[in-house]
Symmetry: C2
Subunit: 367 residues, 2 copies
């Protein structure tokens, strides 16, 4: 089974990560500082500043247990129970879970497949924002669509948030993975030190460190950062071993690491998306970033097709697992003809998987 | 400065932990299963069954990011916003933070210094429980008091919870650290498989692995476990490296490890508590477990005395840092004449620290 369903890179983390891990051997395993292991905060700010040509300070970041915890902290800090956050629809499915934990309501801003799931105009946000709206939450490159906003789109959304006095939370977990000559784009380049901005980040996708559970939350707003630090104190600390190894990794990362990795994933994208695009009944966009593509199929129920592939279809003993896309939509009933595919394995496997998906679709329609 | 203020053992984790860590080298760092790395769940259930002579199954546990996350999951699962949980007063200070995150109110059951902070009779719980009460939360050995309940006391509290149809959440983070010939006591020995029981556990204190962030939550109630698993899925996974190393550690733990460690901490307790008890103006109980003691001082404001020790008092250049105990009380105004001391360094240092604390008290009173 070619697993196109899960967003977890098959590549190993950089060798310097393990070098850092060896340094942790035979050391005590103490609680790190609640805000994060100081050398990691330093190394992260330096790396980000080099990558984005900005000037953040280590004190502007807290280390979190993955982007997951950064998101929970953000929701709890920006909202009281019953408040609302505007989100792109579709977007990262677990936003809904974090909202449930924080007793926050997500209000979807519907994006259209036929527009390449492009980021919404301000008018779309304005028509959904209400008196309980406390924030806009973006993920870019967006999971599951791979859509990347322009700097102007981000600026417009930030201006809208300013005009309503609400926060802009930007999940930049996939930021470095952008294709076709694009440079990584951050809200921090557009407006450094904006008190209305929170940035969510993670080592998971950009360094193949999903299991490390090391994320970051950025805010230049001292009140926000202090409120998050109170939450951080309460849960004591993020994981020690991964923080120590990651600090060493970021201090010793080979130059060009992220650029090479983006090129590697661009080749993977092409290996998966081009063969799918050749199928006359399949619609697929070339994602501008991330490692997912949304695929529209001529079926009524993509979940049923996904199940068919697993149970009733194979080519030379192989089949493909895809993620039905309905789960990525907040609004009910959307995305029933879509699947999300992830390009997280070698190109030759992805091309083989695309061919199985295509011929499987033909077989499904001919049943 | 002798740091008696923080509850973090100075001892190293067992060597087999690092052996497990070396096995993780050059391996991918994937998301583990949301419920935990299966070999760790197996090893934990086996170790617990050996230690407590019980018969739990690996499927009864979720691995969490420290006991912290186990507590948040428990609060979110047992309560809706505005519900109440009864807690011992004093108890672990961060319970209040988790309650704030989950929008739950803690109702304190006041314990008395002069009774050795003994666990409360059922009548005390009954008089505080109301229609919004969803659970009783115990920590034993209790932090910060070191008090340990009898099996009968636990049974009585469980019966009370049954009669009110509310949950009993038991934080057994310090369970193996019991002194004076006591055996580790678990609610799971008293009533295995009780659907109204949740047990919180952690490797932090019992294996000197505070920074690993590996905890566990136990429930034999499938509905509870499934609700917690939904929360676990949302945050993806607990830390991979620490889970892998811990699984190896538990599989290869030298026999008698916990017993030896309890004896080591008993000697530390004696080195700290006996010299303090000799001071005519100091009241201190011999804690039955854990690694904290509560000390009553003839002062109006223990926080002021703690600050005095740090800024205005030293013996041969050394002084002592203690934790003012007011922060461990939920009810306002309690514990102002108490400090918590932790015995987490070698006995000779603890005895020296006790002497500085005693002579510092005399100096403080003579000012």
């Amino acid at each position: 089974v070619y697993g196109l369903n899960i967003g977890e890179p098959d590549t190993a983390p950089p060798e310097v990560f393990y070098e850092g891990l060896r340094k942790a051997e035979h050391q005590p395993v103490p609680y790190e500082a609640a805000a994060g292991f100081p050398p990691l905060r330093d190394a992260w700010a330096s790396w980000l500043n080099r990558s984005l040509k900005i000037d953040t300070r280590p004190d502007d970041f807290l280390v979190t247990t993955g982007a997951s915890e950064a998101l929970i902290f953000s929701f709890l800090t920006c909202c009281d129970a019953g408040d609302e956050i505007l989100v792109l629809d579709p977007t990262y499915a677990n936003f809904a879970g974090f909202a449930a934990m924080a007793d926050v309501r997500l209000k979807p801003i519907e994006l259209a497949f036929d527009d390449g799931f492009e980021f919404p105009p301000v008018a779309a946000l304005a028509s959904e924002a209400g008196p309980q709206t406390r924030a806009v939450l973006l993920c870019h490159p967006n999971n599951p669509t791979g859509a990347v906003p322009t700097a102007q789109q981000l600026q417009d959304i930030l201006s809208f948030c300013e005009s309503r006095n609400i926060m802009l939370i930007v999940d930049e977990t996939y930021r470095e993975l952008v294709f076709d000559g694009r440079q990584p784009l951050s809200i921090l380049q557009i407006h450094p030190d904006h008190p209305g901005v929170i940035v969510i980040d993670s080592l998971s996708k950009q360094f193949s460190l999903c299991g490390a559970r090391v994320g970051f939350v950025y805010s230049a707003n001292q009140a926000i950062l202090e409120a998050m630090d109170t939450l951080a104190q309460c849960r004591l600390a993020a994981p020690s071993l991964a923080q120590r190894a990651s600090a060493h990794m970021l201090q010793h990362l080979p130059s060009g690491f992220s650029e090479k990795r983006a090129i590697e994933f661009e080749a993977r994208r092409d290996a998966l998306v081009q063969p799918l695009a050749n199928h006359p009944n399949v619609d697929v966009h070339n994602p501008a970033g991330g490692f997912y593509a949304m695929v529209r199929l001529p079926v009524e129920n993509a979940a049923d097709f996904a199940a068919f592939l697993l149970t009733d279809y194979h080519v030379d003993g192989c089949t493909v697992q895809v993620a039905p896309a309905e789960g990525f939509f907040v609004a009910p009933g959307l995305g029933r003809d879509l699947v999300r595919v992830a390009f997280v394995c070698p190109p030759e496997e992805l091309t083989a998987a695309a061919q199985i998906l295509s011929s499987g679709l033909d077989a499904y329609q001919e049943r």
